[in-house]
């Protein structure tokens, strides 16, 4: 691994404690990817059955096992790259395995903070925090937090946003 392959977020800022997501997030996302690949496999099984007869579903199953394995491996590694950190003036969120993204949201520009949890997320006790600014392109998500941690994060962000209020 050469020096250039260092992720962006390791270069700056220094001395940041990245908060990891809840360990349950990996389970949820791997499950979700398994489900997605399963749907694909079922769709693919129909023409395969017509084409190959009874061997078709077997092929679909084999393809499913291989693809799902690869996909869950990738997803599991992606989950590891997620992290957030609260600095004095801004919230940092990093993620991405191949394309790496480091988002910086100043507290003063925060307009809305949403908490959301889908049915699967709720089963595993996870909550997503969405932070919106006036720029529509930049909805920053912090997925997979413990509900208590998420609520605490939301409250802290709201307080900080009210303290340093900057305009459009």
């Amino acid at each position: 691994m050469n020096a250039r392959a260092v992720p962006v977020w390791d270069l700056w800022p220094d001395g940041i404690e990245w908060q990891p997501m809840s360990p349950q997030l990996r389970t949820v996302w791997v499950l979700r990817s398994l489900l997605n690949v399963l749907i694909l496999a079922v769709i693919a099984a129909v023409p395969l059955t017509i084409w190959l007869g009874w061997e078709g579903p077997l092929w679909a199953l084999g393809g499913y096992v291989v693809l799902a394995g690869l996909r869950s491996l990738a997803v599991a590694r992606t989950v590891k790259t997620w992290g957030y950190a609260e600095r004095e003036q801004d919230l940092l969120v990093r993620h991405g395995l191949l394309t790496r993204r480091l988002s910086i949201v100043p507290y003063g520009r925060i307009q809305l903070i949403d908490l959301s949890a889908g049915p699967v997320e709720r089963m595993f006790g996870l909550t997503t925090v969405q932070v919106r600014t006036a720029a529509l392109a930049s909805t920053t998500e912090v997925p997979g937090l413990d509900p208590l941690v998420a609520a605490a994060l939301r409250d802290r962000l709201a307080v900080r946003a009210a303290e340093v209020r900057e305009g459009l």
Binding site: V8, G96, L98
Partner: protein, 481 residues
Amino acid sequence: MSAEAGPVHGDEPAPPLAPEPYGPMPHAPSAPPEGMQRQRLHPLTPLLESVRFLTAVAAAVGIQMFTSRNFLFAIYAALAAAVVGGIASLIALQYRGFVIWGRELHIYGGVFTRSHRTVPLDRLQSVDLVRPLQARVFGLAQLNIEVAGGDGTDAKLAYLKHDRAVELRAELLSIAGRPGAQPRTETAEDSTEDVPAGPEPLVPTVTVRKLALASLLEALPVQLTALLLFGTAFAVTGSIFGFTKVATALWFGFFAPALFGYLQSTVSTVNRFLRNCRFRITRDGGNLLIERGLTDTSHETVPVDRVTAVCFDEPILWRRKNWRRVEVWTAAVSQQISVLKSTTALPVGGPAEVAKVAAEALPELPATFAVQRPPRRARWRMPLRWKRTGALLDEKAFVVRHGWWVNTYVALPYARIQSVQVVQGRIQRLQGLATVHAMSAGSVGHTAKAAHRDVEEAVAMAAELRRRADAAAALEAPRLS
């Protein structure tokens, strides 16, 4: 709320401004009392609003009439339309209207589904006077009112008599606390271009010849490329299949849609030319007033303190002439989410004019920037554009440059940067490059991207942007919206 909002009854439409406004305290919008006199829209409004529908009906009836030679049918249809339409418009007009109540504008509408929209004038972003062709024929105008907030916060008042619309616009602006916007002494319509009313324009009016030449030069490369592509494709397919039925079938199945797109782009160029004709920009207090249009006259107001960025476009054939176009992004305009729209502050101009308009839109903004190119190892990724790409941390604004067909400088003031992102794609990672995004308020496209910077430089740039954004925002008084 309380009795402070002024006299309630009487014919005077607008109660005077309360001596002490409610202030920043957020208050629930209150409905004006029932008996309050509503101001009506112009009686021709329903007719004008359904002009497209009427045209379609007239066409249908006309075809029917000519095919069946039944002239009585047309007469009956016209009579029925007149009676039904007249009664419907009379009823509709009863329910439509508006009231200025304190610092709010209430707009009523709808017959079966009553609608009542409250426009808080405190958060008024702009009031634009627009005159579509069909309204212009009758000397009417329409007011587009935009308010800070999410989508669906823009309101429309259509149609009013032109002078009434001008008055009302000034009234709304003065209630909103934009003192600069006095009603301009515009007496008769169509006298705008002869007698420049109000303050002097910032730049001399762009002549039609110059604008036409500029439009032509802008459209020419695209058109030539498109024609060349079509020609080559046709020749190739023709020589392969012979210019026979196969070629024709291919032509209609494949190239006709492309040709349609090409026609559409031509039409939009012409439309743009018509819209920008008689362009006139003036500075009025804290606002830039823009009047333009040959067939549809429109008046736009750009509050200078809402400008989020200034764009300088240079289509490829304008380089010789040293012309540029200036566009202004505002939080108000970009609330229309469906289309990425920015206001043209100067359709075409030389360096001096561009500099003048830029300095008015963003105080102390220069018009030329010495941007730095991305490192040489990024060149193969954009062989044509590389020379014309760059980024610069200027004194007041973050400046990026990009584009080959149309080379654009985007100047985003530090105080308007909402959030910053550093993105590194997989190939960029191998090359040690990264892209910095600085986002401004508004829709998805309103982002200044410094593409393919060195990683170290990119993170340093992000850190510096954040530092400067905080410093610049701290200097400004916080605003409510």
